[in-house]
């Protein structure tokens, strides 16, 4: 039985477009991808984009202007499912590393001065779920192509996608790497969602957390462990905040009373 093809849209907000690029760079999948659904909109890949009702909208990038707020709300209104892809859309990305702290106006001014913005009304950059409901998150900086296509493939069949419920460490052990934490390095592996295939630790680089926190990250235990290894709370927190944006605010608040 042929299923009716779904209507799909891909959109990019504030970010490097790296997640859409991962899809475009999957040359061996592109023909199947474009044949699998009606790709109504794909801002990085084509120019004849239609703004129609959608079965699924994939959104990358964070929201950093009033105009983007309205746009993302408009997309949400005409989409049955909305999937945030990439770290910026899921947790705010590196532009959200100060999220939850006072003084955005001051930080903004120290970069842009008193300039007047004609076409945009800038706001503090936040992830998609700060403005509209998000049905699924597919994190990563950038996303992992295999994971994207597996999730995409499940969604267009209307089945629930399988997302890792385990941290990077599990994938790192599967690959038989040496544990960088045991070697005394500041590795965030235990806190960060798997899905990247432990790519950094496999090259002897500690995890910097670009997939954002795993659902039940034991933040206090990781802090205790790293403190024991000689790192300061500030070092650990800074490393964690690079990519985990909105994802760790609650844990940090619980632990330290501030983010």
């Amino acid at each position: 039985m042929e299923r009716k093809k779904l209507d799909i849209g891909l959109y990019g907000f504030t970010g490097c477009n790296g997640d859409q690029l991962v899809i475009i760079h999957s040359e061996d999948k592109l023909l199947d991808f474009f044949a699998s659904a009606n790709i109504r909109s794909f801002s990085l890949a084509k120019s004849d984009n239609e703004q129609t009702p959608l079965d699924i909208a994939f959104i990358e990038g964070s929201i950093s202007s009033q105009e983007q707020v309205e746009h993302v709300q408009e997309i949400r209104q005409r989409s049955a499912l909305l999937v945030a892809i990439g770290n910026c859309a899921c947790y705010g990305g590196i532009q959200a590393m100060e999220l939850g702290r006072e003084g955005w106006d001051r930080r903004f001014q120290s970069v842009y001065g008193e300039n007047f913005f004609e076409v945009r009304t800038p706001i503090e950059s936040k992830p998609i779920d700060a403005f509209v409901a998000v049905d699924f998150r597919l994190p990563g900086c950038p996303i992992d192509a295999d994971q994207f296509f597996a999730v995409y493939s499940s969604l267009i069949r209307k089945t629930k996608p399988q997302m890792p419920d385990y941290p990077v460490c599990a994938e790192c052990r599967w690959r038989e790497n040496e544990c960088l934490l045991l070697k005394g390095q500041l590795c965030l592996g235990p806190l960060i969602a798997g899905g990247c295939k432990a790519v950094c630790p496999s090259h002897n680089l500690p995890c910097v957390g670009c997939f954002g926190p795993v659902e039940e990250a034991n933040v206090s235990s990781e802090f205790a462990l790293l403190k024991e290894k000689g790192f300061t709370v500030e070092e650990i927190r800074r490393r964690l905040r690079i990519h985990s944006g909105s994802g760790v605010l609650k844990s940090l608040k619980n632990l330290f009373g501030e983010v």
């Binding site: 235990p190 002897n204 659902e215």
Partner: protein, 341 residues
């Protein structure tokens, strides 16, 4: 079981000879770690390997593998593609782990994916000297009497080779020029001396006697909560454990086509979704509950069903857990000893 002798200088020739039975695998050193790998050059085998990073189970049910491909017309299984392998260099604990995995996968319910791999795998064990993390003396795994085809004990300039199966016997008979069948009283003395020397090398002392009862009486112990607070739920302990058999099954669909692959992937009782059921209820929401499951399984339930703990004393969990939650420290804590993990 019979025993023969193999001169060390003949080892390479012997492995070349048995390599004809299947693809030769053994421990090699990669980035400072010992791992089991397919052997291209026999010189690469590192016999100083004690515990490989992932245990031998990775070859009998790989971390992730395809069970079958499916499409609208049916399915094609992957069993016929399983290669014949000769695994060299497994230690007594590895082979005991295999016997434990057999209880899950090859006895009452035969799992074809495990069973086929098992049947196409020949095992040539190798003796070892324990390090500071080994405690196989406490799990009755110092020597093996089953589960291998050949087992080599290093007695200086030669190996005493125990023949454990008819396949092992064939292997020995196929290389008559390399094998010395004349095993005498002097060799026996050397073997006993070796075993004595080996058992004196253990640095860890632990007694697992009565653990099922201790675990039963410790259900309300604060130990579970204390360790649960520390546990990172990373699953590393279960991944490196040679006796952990849990897996998950998931379909990977071909993009936009009515076909795909059914995959089997290692699961872990430390993961959130392990005890999550339809309707959203999680039987083991708390980490402490998950730890309790893992350790009661290893030290109590398995003993009740099979008469031995599902722990071989290999020391991998001691080597691996970043926050020091392992069988050794948990047993000590449940026994009421103060230990720093």
């Amino acid at each position: 079981m019979r025993a023969v002798k193999l001169k060390k200088s003949h080892l390479k020739g012997f492995l070349t000879c048995v390599g004809g039975w299947g693809e030769l695998w053994g421990p090699v050193k990669r980035n400072g770690r010992h791992v089991l790998e397919s052997i291209g050059d026999i010189k690469d085998i590192d016999l100083t390997a004690l515990r490989t990073t992932l245990p031998f189970k990775k070859l009998l049910f790989p971390p992730k593998f395809s069970m079958f491909r499916y499409d609208a017309n049916g399915f094609q299984d992957t069993l016929s593609a399983i290669p014949k392998r000769v695994i060299f260099g497994l230690h007594a604990c590895d082979i005991k782990a295999l016997c434990i995995l057999d209880e899950f996968f090859a006895k009452e319910y035969k799992d074809p994916y495990y069973y086929e791999r098992r049947n196409r795998t020949a095992i040539i064990g190798h003796s070892c000297i324990p390090d500071d993390k080994c405690f196989c003396n406490a799990t009755d795994n110092e020597t093996v009497t089953e589960g291998f085809d050949l087992f080599l004990s290093d007695l200086g300039d030669f190996y005493l080779v125990w023949v454990g199966s008819s396949l092992g016997d064939d292997m020995v008979r196929e290389c008559p020029k390399l094998i010395d069948t004349n095993v005498g009283h002097e060799d026996l003395k050397k073997y006993i001396q070796f075993q004595k020397h080996r058992s004196e090398q253990f640095k860890r002392q632990i007694d697992l006697t009565g653990m099922p009862d201790i675990v039963e009486l410790s259900m309300d112990s604060p130990v579970w909560e204390e360790e649960g607070e520390k546990c990172l739920s990373c699953g590393a302990c279960t991944i490196v454990c040679p006796t952990c058999p849990c897996y998950n099954v998931n379909d990977e669909n071909d993009l936009g086509k009515p076909s795909g692959e059914r995959m089997r992937q290692w699961d872990s009782c430390m993961f959130r979704e392990y005890s999550l059921v339809a309707g959203g209820h999680n039987f083991r929401e708390a980490r402490a509950e998950r730890l309790k499951l893992r350790f009661t399984h290893k030290l109590q339930s398995f003993v009740g069903k099979f008469g031995k703990p599902a722990c071989t004393g290999c020391g991998r969990c001691i080597d691996t857990c970043p926050v020091g939650i392992d069988i050794f420290t948990m047993v000590k804590k449940l026994q009421g000893e103060e230990v720093r993990s």
